[in-house]
């Protein structure tokens, strides 16, 4: 074990990020536990500690006597410099062990933009970056998460990728690897057997065809306690999964494909979990986690059960087709919350093409009703650069916001309307995976168009289109992009998730050196053209996605699959939508 001196700790911001020792953290005996896993979250401590999945796997793995899971986060820039200066390997928070000393490094990939951070953390942990350079003594680097469903941009750095949800399989998978270690099976042989044994495993050197693994509702793991972070997490709350999956099928949404079908947690279990987590952590804020909370069939019951328990509930964006002011009143009696809507498009016609059925009139009625009932803060999310979008559709965003602001102001003079506008990024495994992505220059033109037509009272923030460009290149990448990621990291790119740190000139320099044109990755793809992620099976079948794309073009809506099976190809056997 190595310890930083007090002088070292004084020299960095928020030193308790690097010390561990949190309430509920699990420190197992390093020597006596045969198989060790580092849960690597490639971002700062306070960001990673907000992530429910990290805590889920932490407690799930640590329940096993023969396994040990410890957390590793990306250090901030000041600590990174200190680690390099002192030539220390990046360490885990529990036993303060170097990253290279673990048997497996499980990388959580929630956004493609974390790619350079993963390289940075592996490098600081003194783990060989390329899978081909790792020896029998090095850990296996296995990634999972929605952003790595097309792993092309990161394949050379990974020994394996887990496609899908791993609640019911992670222990078996690690036990399998532990046994291979005990039997001294060589690395390639172990990976090959791993891919044969677990259909959700993709091994880049084998180029096999994995199939996404789904978990039945009864096998979902619900942690009953969470680590209480030393530094206040970005979202510090008792998180309970209200439902996994969403059945709305918005055509742009990757999570909708990745987490199918919907599996709702029974309300009694949700309430029991919230109470237990409050008791084990002291958290008084509750996050009811789901892709579409207002679609949860027993939400009112859950809110009723939890009222009067000194709990603050946070609300995700509201579904206008299931707006319930009585329920909102129970959750937010002081009308303090900002109510969020995600119309995504400014016109009804374009919104219909996204499979979002509500109209501008319904949005205005909702704002009117809510403002009359006392709410004064409204937030909207929009995208520009959507397929078949016209200038009028973009202008309609400004018109919608202006009108919403007038309605809110008419009812309440303190009302405020905010909006966030981002450039659309087509994601693999969605009906829009073949669509063209607009360039940053086009996005800026559209942003300007909106800005010029907005009332000055409406506060709009525009996502830097350069981030959308990078996200677009990585998410629909081919194998050439992995070199780009490596080159950008060598140039110094890190924390690309943050507009504060993101330095796009480093990426610019990287693709110039490699002779790559990022615009090539923004182009529309022909449906007959093979896609770099075709060998991976995630979510609905390709035929279903094509059908959805056709329906989108014709402006036809696809119903919620709770109402009738749409034949997307995900369900089967015991796996079906499961309601509370």
């Amino acid at each position: 074990m190595f310890i930083l001196s007090n002088a070292d700790l004084y020299s960095v911001e928020k030193p308790s990020r690097y010390l561990g020792g949190e309430f509920n953290s699990v420190v197992k005996n390093w020597e006596e536990t045969p198989y060790k896993v580092a849960l690597l979250y490639p971002d700062l401590y306070e960001v990673g500690m907000s992530y429910h999945g990290l805590q889920l796997f932490y407690f799930l793995i640590n329940q096993q006597k023969h396994l040990l899971a410890e957390r590793v986060f990306a250090p901030a820039l000041d600590m990174r410099e200190l680690i390099k200066e002192k030539d220390l390997p990046l360490w885990s928070l529990e036993n303060k062990k170097p990253l290279y000393s673990f048997d497996v490094i499980a990388v959580h990939f929630l956004t493609e933009l974390a790619a350079t951070n993963v390289l940075e953390t592996l490098s600081l942990g003194q783990v060989p970056l390329l899978a081909s350079e790792r020896t029998e003594d090095d850990p296996y680097v296995i990634a999972g998460g929605p952003a790595i469903s097309n792993p092309s941009f990161f394949e050379p750095f990974l020994d394996a990728v887990f496609i899908g949800e791993a609640d019911d399989i992670i222990v078996d998978l690690l036990t399998f690897l532990a046994k291979a270690k005990q039997e001294h099976t060589d690395r390639n042989n172990t990976l090959s057997k791993l891919a044969q044994r677990f259909p959700g495993i993709y091994v880049p050197i084998l180029r096999n065809s994995p199939e996404e693994h789904h978990v039945l509702r009864d096998n979902i793991f619900y942690p009953t306690k969470f680590i209480v972070p030393n530094v206040e997490a970005v979202q510090e709350r008792a998180v309970v999964e209200l439902a996994r999956g969403c059945t709305r099928g918005c055509h742009f949404c990757h999570a909708s494909s990745y987490y199918r079908p919907v599996r709702e947690t029974p309300p009694q279990e949700v309430v029991e979990l919230v109470r237990t987590i409050k008791q084990t952590t002291g958290f008084t804020e509750v996050g009811l986690l789901s892709l579409s909370t207002f679609d949860y069939s027993r939400l009112s019951d859950v809110v009723d059960y939890l009222s009067g328990e000194h709990l603050n509930m946070s609300l995700p964006s509201l579904r206008l087709d299931s707006l319930d002011t009585d329920l909102l009143n129970k959750v937010d009696p002081t009308k303090h919350l900002t109510l969020t809507f995600a119309p995504e498009a400014g016109s009804d016609k374009l919104r219909k093409k996204l499979n979002k059925p509500f109209t501008n009139e319904e949005i205005f009625s909702a704002v009117d009703l809510l403002a009359k009932n006392g709410w004064s803060k409204f937030k909207f999310y929009f995208m520009v650069g959507l397929p078949e979008e016209s200038d009028q559709d973009v202008l309609d965003i400004a018109t919608l916001l202006n009108e919403a602001d007038s309605i809110a102001f008419k009812n309440n003079r303190r009302s405020r309307v905010h909006a966030t506008v981002a450039s659309f990024v087509p994601k693999p495994f969605t009906p829009f995976q073949w669509e063209r992505q607009i360039t940053p220059a086009e996005a800026l033109e559209k942003y300007t168009l909106i800005q010029e037509h907005l009332k000055k009272q409406v506060d709009v923030s525009f996502r830097n289109p350069w981030f959308s460009l990078l996200e677009g290149v990585l998410s629909r990448s081919d194998s050439k992009v992995a070199n780009l990621v490596l080159q950008a990291w060598k140039e110094g790119a890190i924390f690309d998730t943050s507009e504060q740190y993101g330095q796009h000139f480093l990426w610019q320099s990287a693709w110039e050196k490699l002779g790559l044109d990022p615009m090539e990755y923004l182009r529309a793809r022909d449906p007959k053209e093979p896609l770099p992620w075709d060998h991976i099976k995630v979510g609905p079948s390709k035929d279903f996605l094509l059908l959805q794309r056709e329906k989108s073009r014709k402006g036809l809506l696809t119903p919620d699959c709770r109402e009738c099976c749409l034949g997307c190809g995900v369900c089967g056997g015991d796996l079906w939508p499961t309601l509370a």
Binding site: P15, S16, G21, F23, K278, H336
Partner: protein, 159 residues
């Protein structure tokens, strides 16, 4: 309206010494909820535990007696040992004083024997200053009482 309260002295050593003031107070609040004490909450949307925290220590500075004043709904006899499991080892309470809030009152044992103290809302400091007592004398004896397992029934000292 609180009629009873606790003053709890916490250690701020080890990892806790590197917690910012805001994070330290946050941790103590969580621990009090975990301990299921009959605490009071602020009103408003973001309900928080009512407590008065000591002045901030600089980052990295350790302390063996950070006093938190916690008004409560009802009287509760609780010892530092009982509370310990609800906090991490670094920030474990070292002494708990339970008293009625009206008048603010508590009992210490000092080398000179048991004394009664009128307590200000802020805690002990002013009362100790008036009687020219060094807080550490009282706290140290309190720690010894706790470690030796000796208990004092505070109720019969309260008027």
């Amino acid at each position: 309206m609180a009629h009873v309260g606790l003053t709890i002295f916490f250690r701020k050593v080890g990892v806790s010494a590197w917690l910012s003031y805001k994070d330290y107070v946050r941790h103590i609040s969580y621990g009090l909820i975990r301990a299921n004490l009959p605490v009071l909450y602020t009103e408003g949307f973001q309900e928080r535990i009512l407590l008065e925290a000591p002045s901030a220590l600089p980052l990295g500075v350790s302390s063996l007696g950070e006093s938190f004043f916690i008004p409560m709904k009802e009287h509760m006899n609780v010892t530092a040992q009982e509370l310990k499991t609800f906090f991490s080892s670094d920030e474990a309470p070292v002494m708990v004083l339970a008293y009625k809030l009206d008048p603010y009152f508590s009992v210490f044992e000092t080398p000179q024997g048991i004394i009664k103290l009128q307590l200000e809302k802020q805690g002990l400091k002013k009362a100790l200053d008036e009687q020219q007592l060094k807080p550490w004398e009282a706290v140290k004896v309190g720690i010894e009482i706790i470690s030796s397992g000796q208990t004092i029934d505070l109720s019969h000292f309260a008027d």
